[in-house]
């Protein structure tokens, strides 16, 4: 995994942005403050804070072995069936842990509003799998292909926003999304030199903004109020 540099109005904001882009939690990352930034005087000479995050020690977690996968599958199956749903569970190893794919008919209630049920199943299953196997592998869950579909949808939204941003020469705001989906938007456009992305807003309103590269703030922001995030800050 690579390192990520991001900027923000404060060091804290820059760290949050960098972690989001890197898909790391604070515990998983080493954080280097490159520039603490400066508020400037009446907005003159204001600099944004910049930080770099790198994955800590490359997470020496080995891929889960067959037994861990089997245990996880069994726990997921039992949980879902005790909840009154009939579904099958397939597990496979991922880069950072394991993925449990729950498939079946009529799983809407389990998925929940905006996938909140999946979130809950994931929280509970990771705790159970960690307890049962002693591993700290990341446990990811999808139910009825909901997250896979959302991922495709978000990627498509992001590409469309990029085309529009370039065509109209202005920033395009995507609808609010959770961290997982914002990350999909960022990574989808990471390879597109014509646009840069960043996140804006807080809490439920946090969303990705796509703007044409080079449009935004000049390298040395002379007069702009310090609110404005920097372009290289694609800062999550």
């Amino acid at each position: 995994m690579r390192e990520v540099v991001a900027s923000g109005r404060t060091v804290e904001e820059a760290i949050a942005a960098a972690l989001e882009r890197a898909g790391l939690t604070r515990e998983e990352a080493e954080i280097h403050v490159l520039d603490e930034g400066s508020r400037g005087v009446f907005g003159l000479g204001a600099r944004e804070a910049r930080v770099r995050v790198v994955p800590r020690a490359q997470l020496p977690e080995e891929p889960p072995d067959a037994r861990t996968l089997a245990t996880a599958t069994e726990i997921a199956r039992t949980l879902v069936s005790k909840m009154g749903f009939s579904a099958s569970v397939l597990a496979h190893a991922t880069e950072r842990g394991l993925f449990l794919d729950v498939q079946g008919e009529d799983l809407g209630l389990l998925i929940g509003r905006r996938g909140q049920g999946i979130e809950a199943v994931e929280t509970v299953l990771s705790a159970m799998v960690h307890q049962a196997t002693g591993s700290r592998a990341e446990v990811e869950v999808d139910i009825g292909g909901y997250r896979a579909r959302r991922r495709q949808h978000v990627a498509e939204l992001a590409r469309r926003a990029a085309r529009r941003a370039v065509a109209q020469g202005k920033a395009v705001h995507l609808p609010p999304m959770d961290a997982r989906e914002r990350r999909v938007a960022h990574t989808t456009l990471a390879g597109d030199p014509k646009v840069t992305t960043r996140s804006e807003g807080t809490g439920e309103a946090r969303h990705v903004v796509v703007e044409p590269t080079g449009r935004a703030v000049p390298a040395r922001p002379a007069r702009r109020p310090p609110r404005r995030p920097q372009p290289q800050g694609r800062g999550a």
Binding site: I75, T78, L79, K82, M83, G84, F85, L109, L110, G112, Q116, G117, E119, A120, V121, T123, V124, A127, M128, Q131, A132
Partner: protein, 85 residues
């Protein structure tokens, strides 16, 4: 329903033998009262209440699936707050 909650709790705590789930019903619906070993209370509630929230979400979904309202109360050894949320 009680079976579900016991299954999950026994799977996440350090002291599965200390898990107790009491089922009763009142005008709000089915109430499941959960008691675990003091050292496991933190785990069952989770960072920022994350685990408790997840448990409630699961119990609610399973309840709707079975056509009833199910509430989960976690005894944390402190005086009762409004348990309905």
């Amino acid at each position: 329903m009680r079976d579900l909650v016991e299954y999950v709790l026994r799977g996440i705590v350090a002291r599965p033998d200390q898990v107790q789930v009491e089922e009763s019903s009142d005008d709000r619906g089915t109430v499941l009262r959960v008691r675990v070993a003091p050292e496991d209370v933190g785990k069952v509630i989770g960072r920022g209440g994350r685990m408790a929230r997840a448990l409630r979400t699961l119990v609610r979904a399973a309840g709707v699936r079975g056509g009833r309202v199910v509430l989960l109360e976690i005894e944390d050894g402190r005086p009762r707050r409004d348990a309905s949320r």
